[in-house]
Amino acid sequence: MSRIVVAGENSQQAREALGFAKILSDVSGSTISFLVFSGTSDEIASAAGGIASEAYNLNGAGHPPESLAAALDILSKDGIYAVVAPALKNLTDALARFSAKARIPMLTEVIEAHVMDDELLLKRGVMAGRAIGEYHVKPPFTATVPMKKFEPPEASGALEVEDLEVSAEAPKLIGVEKKVKGEVDIEGAEIVIGVGRGFKKEEDLKTAFQLAELLGGEVGCSRPIAADYGWLPEDRWIGISSKKIRPKLYFAIGISGAPQHMSGVLDSKIIAAVNKDKNAPIFQYADYGIVGDLYQFLPALLKKLEEKQ
């Protein structure tokens, strides 16, 4: 009986993959080992007590991807069933390094797990989120799961934590800059106004904020608006590499409808869009599509809504 290692930079992170690990453990009878890059014993116990049968702590030593990969090398010595982690960049990195050395497959962002004739069937989004790929995987393997996708079981009881020392060569860290965090809960919003590169200047976004205010919604954006131009903080960025939303109304303004963006909004009840290009892919995804210039349409829409107040 080999183990399932659940990894994270801290306990909360690793806990995000516990629900998935539990499914694997029920299928295989493997025990769960909890591995964190840093955290206190209390945090670890309250995250995984009663679920994991053992826990390891790297105590924040080294650089996360290299240290975690080295720890996985050690923990897999006696055989493993799987290594799982939430789909965060450092963890994807660590698991991929480990998988290459172990010569085992890895599936990123697994969204469903099934058992078929005693074999594991895993599903993940492919084709930039426009399709679902189904995979038969033989253990050992590694996988990441999106945050909040698999509900973790309640933790209870004690969990003994062992300190693990690893030595791994890593690039020299010379600086860290924390990102600005906004206070929006775009994933919980009922109405989301999405802004994209159709807006020519940062200050033009204010019309989108006015619309959000009038409708009681939040403003979200495509990747370039946040990651490239930095016009909005990254917690408003919607899509395959960031937030997934499920509002009653998603209203995309000046967004082309790239599948990588749309895969973050597919669960919206109604999708509306404004785009001046009648051939923009966004219209294939929209319930209501306005072919027109946002710089003319938005002021008209704001005026009409204000009149109805």
Binding site: D93, M127, A131, K303
Partner: protein, 267 residues
């Protein structure tokens, strides 16, 4: 002088994806394009060559088949990167590697690198635009025993050493590393330049070499099997409203959204 290798995927054009009536994606019938962020990888590789001197080789594994029918498309993607400043292209074309997972792709790329005598800097995209597995750079680095820096947003070269800014969820992290190394770059790392007409013409005389599984020698084992790729059915109303008269269009939209119960004007 640096020997730079850039990994370029010819990916499924997800905007033109074809499927059969049962919803199975027909990869064979769908055109291939350069993976979106591999343009950034190529741009980064060409900029590194610009600073350090040397040459850039593009590596590609044909991951969609049948390769005999798709060969021209793989060649076109290579012509595109040759026009962007890559000096030579190496393409592994074998139906035995088609549908390969990152496990196979990384082993093939590592074998190809070995065959060509090794490189100082390997650049990949952060994720391919069709499969977005985000595994290649760390896998390749582990196989070659080289330092790996993932999610590179900015590259500064100082005295031959690399100062690299990594773009993580909650922070930017700056690390220093000396070549040889492997890095993956994000879509924000640079602005890929469009090649000029002259560059496009010159690309036609640059070499593209093809390899088979026999040349590479990587054996594929059945550790993972792709059972199906099924399109996600999207049912939308697709009502188009002409926006040439903005006031009228706004009125229509407000009415529709109110009927749907998703907005309450004047609430």
């Amino acid at each position: 002088m640096a020997r730079v290798a850039v990994l370029v995927k010819a990916a499924i054009d997800v905007n033109l994806m074809k499927a059969d009536p049962q919803g199975n994606v027909l990869a064979q019938q769908t055109p291939l394009v350069i993976a979106e962020y591999d343009r950034n990888a190529v741009q980064a590789a060409v900029e590194i060559k610009g600073k350090l001197g040397g040459s850039v080789a593009a590596f590609s594994l044909a991951s969609w088949g049948p390769v005999s029918a798709k060969k021209k498309e793989y060649e076109n993607v290579m012509r595109e990167v040759l026009a962007m400043g890559v000096d030579e292209a190496h393409v592994v074309l074998d139906d035995g590697y088609v549908d390969g997972t990152p496990l196979v792709t990384a082993e093939v790329m590592a074998a190809l690198a070995g065959k060509l005598g090794g490189f100082d800097i390997y650049v990949t995209g952060e994720g391919s635009s069709d499969m977005v597995s985000s595994q290649l750079a760390p896998r390749l680095g582990a196989l070659l025993g080289l330092p790996v820096v993932t999610f590179t947003k900015r590259i500064d070269i100082e005295d031959g050493g690399f100062k690299i800014t990594r773009d993580l969820e909650d922070k930017l992290e700056v690390v220093h590393v000396d070549p040889p190394l492997v890095m993956s770059v994000t879509g924000e790392a640079n602005q890929p330049r469009l090649p000029t007409l002259l560059q496009i013409r010159r690309a036609f005389v640059k070499p593209i070499k093809f390899y088979t599984a026999q040349d590479i020698g990587v054996k594929r084992e059945a550790k993972i099997e792709q059972l199906a790729i099924k399109v996600l059915a999207q049912k939308r109303k697709n009502v188009i409203i002409d926006g040439s008269k903005p006031e009228e269009a706004a009125e229509v939209l407000i009415q529709r959204l109110t009927e749907e119960g998703v907005i309450i004007p004047g609430r």
